[in-house]
Amino acid sequence: MIVLLGVVVVILGFVTRRNPVLVVGVAGIVTGLLGKMSPREVLAAFGQSFADSRSVTVFAIVLPVIGLLERYGLREQARNLIGRLGKLSAGRFLTVYLLVRQVTAAFGLNSIGGPAQTVRPLVAPMAEAAAERTAGARLPDRLREKVRSYSASSDTVGLFFGEDCFLAIGSILLITGFVNSTYQQHIEPIELALWAIPLAVCAFFIHGARLLLLDKQLEREMAAAAAENDLPLPKGADK
């Protein structure tokens, strides 16, 4: 029973936001010693399992290629392409962005999007502008927050449920590295990545549907806000 303290160390460490690398190291040593291993055996266990799971860190060799392409404007070109979607409604625009983010992440390009790279400079402002164009009025602060929150969500959902379709992503390699070395298996990354595809499809339909509903919700709440404040209808709304 006492070896479960190692799990407690992991939970406490992550909950109290200690350095994750340190948490893992301490939890490994504590668990090994509580599991009646000698210090020498603990060291051997660290060394052996580190050697067995080297495949997990292999994805680092992608970095020089991506670094080279970013230097030559990979992100800028991605932005140019997304910028062409300017005529869609807010919900439709975010749905297309969700798809783009999923597909590019599935091809291993998970760093071309992100909160700092695309959401703040591009996705959120475009979604807000689209919502205001559709409504023909300025968004109240509460709805502006909502559009921004959904912009961030389409980026994050797209990344999470796209990247696992790529072979060389930390999570897939963590699974094969851990299982192959611990249970003497020969699972290949591609077998795992295939199972991520049905969930990527589910994620697109579920989150995409919610993004499309956002359009309806904005329309309803804009109408309610206009009635409540007895604001004059924006120009052109009666046509």
Binding site: M1, R54, L68, L74, Q77, F160, L167, L174
Partner: protein, 324 residues
């Protein structure tokens, strides 16, 4: 025949070359300790060949595992006590990148797409050709894909110096810091948990709680367990070894003969559903709120929770239906 160890040597070499670049980078306030970290990590790759040879008896040179364990603890100390620093990135200006994006257009995506295309071709077509070590075609395909993409990338961009991609890659390495090593360390932790019997302990508890042979309850326990553990810890990678050693492997795969790749891949994604819902995963959920200057820092999480819960149901159902 191309062996997977060759790929590990290449990865190790890339880390060592980048470590040398770091040591020479005077803009990095912690250049010596940074170089020590990445250089040591690079050396563990060829050293690991000897450790694996010794444990598997596959021939070739053999080396003891204990010194590698000491090296791993040294890496943990260097990363855990903040000895890693960043230099000023060697890159182009925003205007230069804009100009180059206009010049190259969407051709810039070709090298990036080369990586997965080559990797998939190797895994699907060349697996039985005898060209690659058996059972390693995907990983080797990735290595071949990266080398091919680098050549294509230099042709497309017209870059002639090999030091340029290495410098750009090093800047990305410095930006990621110890986060790059975390998945491998969590795999190590999972193995130590298994060796020390953590999985069997949690498994015994689960066995006493779950009714005998109830496949559906076990699937729910694994998926919801991954979800809740990830919500608490903010990291699906950390939840994975624990839940897999406890339920995923002993109960779902061994006891109930489930399809291992399906169970493990979907289990990880159930954890991702948890990541979407937790403020503990600050870099994904809180940082965007700050960047977007939201008054409600939980705005993105609120937008994600219904999707995440629906997807958790999808994970559970797909696993229950297709993994057995």
């Amino acid at each position: 025949m191309i062996k997977v160890e060759w790929l590990y040597w290449l990865v190790g070499l890339v880390f060592v070359v980048m470590a040398v670049q770091m040591a020479a980078d005077r803009t990095n306030p912690k250049r010596w300790t940074s170089a020590a970290f990445w250089g040591l990590l690079g050396v563990t790759f060829p050293y690991g060949t000897g450790v694996v040879n010794a444990s598997k008896g596959t021939g070739g040179w053999t080396l003891p595992a204990e010194p590698l364990g000491v090296a791993v603890l040294a890496l943990i100390v260097l990363a855990g006590f903040n000895f890693l620093g960043k230099g000023v990135p060697v890159t182009t200006t925003g205007e230069q990148r804009e100009a180059s994006a206009t010049r190259l257009g969407s051709k810039i995506f070709i090298p990036a797409l080369t990586i997965p295309v080559v990797a998939i071709v190797c895994a699907a077509v060349l697996d039985d050709s005898g060209l690659f070590q058996e059972g390693q075609a995907t990983l080797l395909g990735l290595g071949v894909g990266c080398v091919a993409a680098l050549v294509v990338g230099m042709l497309v961009t017209g870059e002639k110096k090999i030091s340029v991609p290495l410098h750009s890659g090093r800047s990305m390495l410095e930006a990621m810091g110890s986060a790059l090593l975390l998945p491998q360390l969590l795999a190590v932790l999972g193995s130590i948990f298994a060796l020390a019997g953590v999985g069997t302990q949690v498994g015994d508890i689960m066995n006493s709680v779950l009714p005998e042979n109830s496949k559906y309850l076990a699937v729910i326990a694994y998926c919801v367990g991954m979800y809740l553990f990830t919500v608490i810890m903010g990291n699906a990678f950390a939840a994975f070894p624990v839940m897999t050693a406890a339920i995923g492997w002993p109960i779902l795969v061994e006891q109930m003969n489930g399809n291992a790749p399906a169970i493990l891949a979907i289990g990880m994604l159930a954890g991702f559903c948890g990541t979407l819902c937790t403020p503990m995963a600050a870099n994904f959920n809180i940082v965007p709120a700050t960047l977007l200057e939201l008054k409600d820092q939980y705005g993105p999480i609120k937008a994600q929770i219904p999707t995440a819960l629906a997807l958790l149901v999808c994970c559970t159902v797909i696993m229950a239906v297709f993994a057995f």
